[in-house]
Amino acid sequence: MTKNIGSARPRDDVRLLLDGRGTYLDDVPVTGALHVAFLRSPHAHADIAKIATAAAAALPGVVRVVTASDLAAICHGWGSSQTFPGLVERRQTALAATRAVYQGQPVAAVAAETRAIAEDGVEAIEVDWRPLPEMAALDHALEPGAAPAHGDLASNLAYSGTIGANIDPAIWKEAAHVLEESFIFHRVTGVPLETRGVVASYLPADGSLTVYQSHTAPHQLRSLYAMHLGLDEGRIHVVTPQVGGSFGVKIHLYPDEIATCAIARLIGRPVKFIADRLESFTADIHAREQRVRARVALGADGRFLAWQVDCLLGMGAFSTHPGSSVQEGDETVRLAATPYRVDAFAGRVDVAFQNKTIVGQYRGVGHPMASAVTEYMVDRSAEALGVLPEELRRRNYVPDDAYPTTSASGLPLDALSHRKCLDEILRLMDMPALRLAQAAFRAKGVYRGIGLSAFIERTATNVPVNAHVRKATAQDGVTLHIDPSGSVRAAITVTEQGQGTHTAIAQVIADALGVPFERVTVISGDSAATPYGSGIRASRGAPVGGELALKAGRALRRNVLAAAATLLQVAPDDLTLDNGTILRRGGGRGVRLDELAEAVHFRPQLFQHGAQPNLSVAMHFGHDWPTLVPTNGIQASYLEVDARTGMVRLLHHWAVDDFGTLINPLLAAEQVRGGIAQGIGQALYEELLYSEDGQLTNATLADYLLPKASDLPDITVGHVETPWPHSELGAKGAGEAGTTGALGAVLTAVNDALRPLGAKITEMPMTPERILRALGKI
């Protein structure tokens, strides 16, 4: 039998991207669209005393200038979509009405015949700003007397929660070692190369809204637009064309996107909004701004007696929509120390309002910091005990055969393989040889570091709390149909942003049904083509989409065999389907799937003695597994720190992951490599720099440093496969592990390099300046 699951098959559907024939949002042909540009707040916090729009409206080519009052009747704004009880929230509107609370917040919009004219219109709007004291710096946000981020707040504390149980104070006294450290993680953002954008058109004649949007979840958008604009959901059609990267940025719904659809409704003409890069920096979700304190009690035997991890998260001016900004801090604490046996764990998450851009769900959500903090502390523990870092890890891991279990922070965990992954990465690295090389370089005054970072990554959300408010279903859906030619069409709700979702789903269906891969075509990203379903988030493509494809493929196979049995006048159990041909088990004449399909569609008289043949299947699947699907892995970084310049040169990087059953090792490996690049970006280069008064000062690609080809090393990727025991396919999520492990691997490697110099660094990104400070050179 042909086996597609597990095969490293390249994506066929990239041919058109390679030829420059992809259709991204800005390439979608729309007739007569107006272009929308936004006036955004230049201030972090300011009252809007007056907006004068007459000059803008008078410009030739400007069709309409829109402010909050124009939209008030169409779109009421939104409050909570949060999943964390007790989170203080403030109501948002698509355009700010009387006060702006972060730089980049949309305040007015101009619809015009061209984008250039729309931008001219924005420049012609005059706003009488009355600046207010702003709260930008996270370190001061919760101090008494700090300026409130919203005028009516008594404190900027938006949320406070505890995780785990209280730690007996005696433990700290009796421990052989108590290690303590604080960490600073600065703000970053996702930077998909294609910026966000929306094309919306509303037809007053029938109340229909058609939206093309660079996004990952078309059905969720439909439900959200129905909610925001008070429209009949049945009349909303959302298409997500080719998406030029998301990384979480495009799972959210933004005020400018809601405003664009509201403007389409207001003026009854198609409108188009494409964010420019500056807008993307100030208005896309930000992530990772955290202060973390960790404290570890270590027994003389190397046992982890207690871990305390506290996180302060800066969330910006609002909690993200749909979803919750708190998640980034909550996951950091909840995932800390989870690879290890820990006797007691206590954690706390505080979340602060700021007059800054909203923090949302960027690839890895909290997990990179969990891993970085944990692995730094494990290295310090190994140092205190005088054992090798890999040795302490091996000793203290929850053993691979101890699952299922529950972490000290309360997470149900299953089917993980820390020891196997560690063994595999040490083998790939040839650790003994690497340590010898490192020692030889140190003897010559060259400071090379080796760092390890193990992690647990939670993937494939099931039923989220408050799903009805977020319009976030846990189910995905698919329809399968066999055409008269025998080709199979799958319309599925997990979407493609370049991961290879379509290829992986086709591989699963080909095997489940018994047809060649080439006969399967996968369609996604169109709410009119697929049943209702979740879309992509939290690495659910393989575990949920793949499982759905497997179940639906098998159901279709039963239909095919039933139809063939009627045609051939035998029992379905006497038939098999493999490689597109139906054969009798005992031998004798069979029938090819294309012949059967042709007969079903065009020669119904052949089926008169049996039930109606049915070559279609519609199915939904939402898992009822105990938790999110945990995956685990480990990464290693080998690098050199130049002690004179503070520059870090990355020499090599390794990753070993356990994604359960691998549908396609080629695609999974490239997900890992791409994720690692983003984790390395956060470790060494990327930082949104704010001035004290809340102004983002590096909102260009020239000033916000993304990793370039010459910055990055080669990356070796290995796999361990522990199938997810609760599904038939056994696949786990693979989209975020790369980002999650890389931050800690680079952090521990830099610190390993600095150790002989008596220096340490716990602030990221680890820029040359920060490294020189750590070395006491500046």
């Binding site: 030829d19 250039a116 930077v191 998909p192 030029g244 490239e670 690049a677 080669d714």
Partner: protein, 157 residues
């Protein structure tokens, strides 16, 4: 509305004569007026390389040039370079090595890599990395791209 300027150039082997706004970038002109949407815009300030095109045989940023400056010049986009077949080895290598994910950076990277390989038929890995450092890819981490360029170089030699 701005006063328009009439400009004549060759695009993908065909003579083109159009009235353009003096502030229209070459990339916008190719995308909006000629429908050549394979030229992408990732930053519009000359850093990401998604808008890379070929002018008179050398790669150039489409977002930093104006259409009105192209009088008498020869422009080639990803569509033209694909049709000519000169990218075929790279395109095959990129597909086989999965050296693209979302594909938004890919046209610019292919044109950059093709010029590099024409000048350096037997490149070492570091030279490939340096040559591609003017092109941002946010999806792949570059490793697969470097592999694909190296294997295209081998296929071509």
């Amino acid at each position: 509305m701005d006063d328009l300027v009439v400009v004549s150039m060759t695009v993908n082997g065909r003579a083109v004569r159009r009235a353009v706004s003096p502030r229209q970038s070459l990339a916008d002109f190719l995308r909006q007026d000629l429908g050549l949407t394979g030229t992408h815009l990732g930053c519009e300030h000359g850093v990401c390389g998604a808008c890379t095109i070929v002018v008179d045989g050398r790669i150039q940023r489409g977002c930093l040039s104006f259409a009105a400056q192209m009088e008498g010049h020869t422009v080639e986009t990803i569509e033209g370079a694909t049709a000519s077949g000169r990218l075929a080895a790279l395109q095959t290598a990129f597909r086989e090595r999965n050296a693209l994910q979302c594909g938004f950076c890919t046209p610019g990277i292919l044109l950059t890599a093709a010029e590099f390989l024409a000048d350096n038929p037997r490149p070492i890995r570091d030279a490939i990395r340096t040559a591609l450092s003017g092109n941002v890819c946010r999806c792949t981490g570059y490793h697969a791209i470097v592999d694909a360029v190296a294997s295209a170089a081998e296929a071509l030699s």
